[in-house]
Amino acid sequence: RTSAILSKMVYKRFVEIGRVAFVSFGEDQGKLCAVVDIVDQNRALIDGPNIRRQAIGFKFLHLTGFVIQIGHGAGTTAVKKAWEKEGIEEKWQQSRWYKKLQMKATRRQLSDFDRFKLMKVKQRRSWLIKMEMGRLKKAQKK
């Protein structure tokens, strides 16, 4: 009966020991970290392979769908081990979230010539789609 209730839970991502989170603000913005311990209702102790162990507010964390298996208060080496075991780096790089971030970063770096090329490619693609659409409509009419 409880599992029926849990399956209807509105929230799917929880702050828990081992939850992987994305740092959305501050010096370490853009890095992934794992929740190692909860300080209080506003802060968590986080640690990660590229980030210093520190207490950070939940305001600056975006929870991902990944969780690593660590005990509460686990040391940096234990976190690193669990991180590699779970394969968080590959999982993260295959996620849509990461890909969107990469896409945004690429777009921001485009030169004017790149943007021109992009425009031309988009025009070509939309032309191809319209041509195919036209053919399908024509085929349907018959």
Binding site: Y11, K12, R13, F14, V15, E16, I17, S24, F25, Q29, G30, D37, I38, V39, D40, Q41, L45, R53, A55, F58, K59, F60, L61, H62, L63, G71, H72, G73, G75, T76
Partner: protein, 178 residues
């Protein structure tokens, strides 16, 4: 923005004289934002407690105590004395933090917010790391759960940097992130 509160150990004594060539040393744990304030607080307390003052005594050393392990979360118990509008009261408060100085900052902010007691009215009698099973306050005890788990129910969208904040936005924010 205020400087961080730091912990100092100040050791001082009355100036040695012919009558008393080796006066006793007094050591005090002071929480202050800098060494100058730490020295001042030392004399404030020693002058009240013993017959010595800045002119008749000497500070032998001031050392900052840096948190030994800022990488673990600890429960800090604090015994305070503070001036309210109508009297002086003792209090015991608990805070959870990674460093003692962080907890002391929380305490001053808490006393200010809850009791309108400014920092000058608050005296720290004692601070200690308290084991989880010995904590007394329910808001600390609720964190003592190795399987703690809760969602972030209300997320306010925040730009990744101050310069990306928009003055006007066309859509209402979503506070749900799943």
């Amino acid at each position: 923005k205020k400087m961080a509160i730091r912990e100092f150990i100040v050791v001082g004594r009355k100036e040695p004289s012919e009558a008393e060539p080796n006066p006793p040393l007094y050591r005090m744990q002071v929480f202050a934002r800098n060494e100058v304030i730490a020295r001042s607080r030392f004399w404030y307390v020693l002058h009240a407690a013993r017959k010595m003052k800045k002119t008749t005594g000497e500070i032998l050393s001031v050392n900052e105590v840096v948190e030994k392990n800022p990488n673990t979360v600890k429960n800090f118990g604090m015994w305070l004395r503070y001036n309210s509008r109508s009297g002086i009261h003792n209090m015991y408060k608990e805070f959870r933090d990674t460093t003692l100085c962080g907890a002391v900052e929380q305490m001053y902010a808490d006393m200010n917010g809850r009791h309108r007691a400014r920092a000058s009215s608050v005296h720290i009698i004692k601070t200690a790391v308290v084991k989880a099973e010995d904590t007394r306050r329910p808001n600390l005890k609720q964190m003592h759960n190795s399987k703690i788990k809760f969602p972030l129910t209300h997320i306010q969208p925040r730009a990744s940097h101050k310069r990306y904040r928009a003055k006007f936005v066309t859509s209402r924010p979503t506070t749900f992130a799943g």
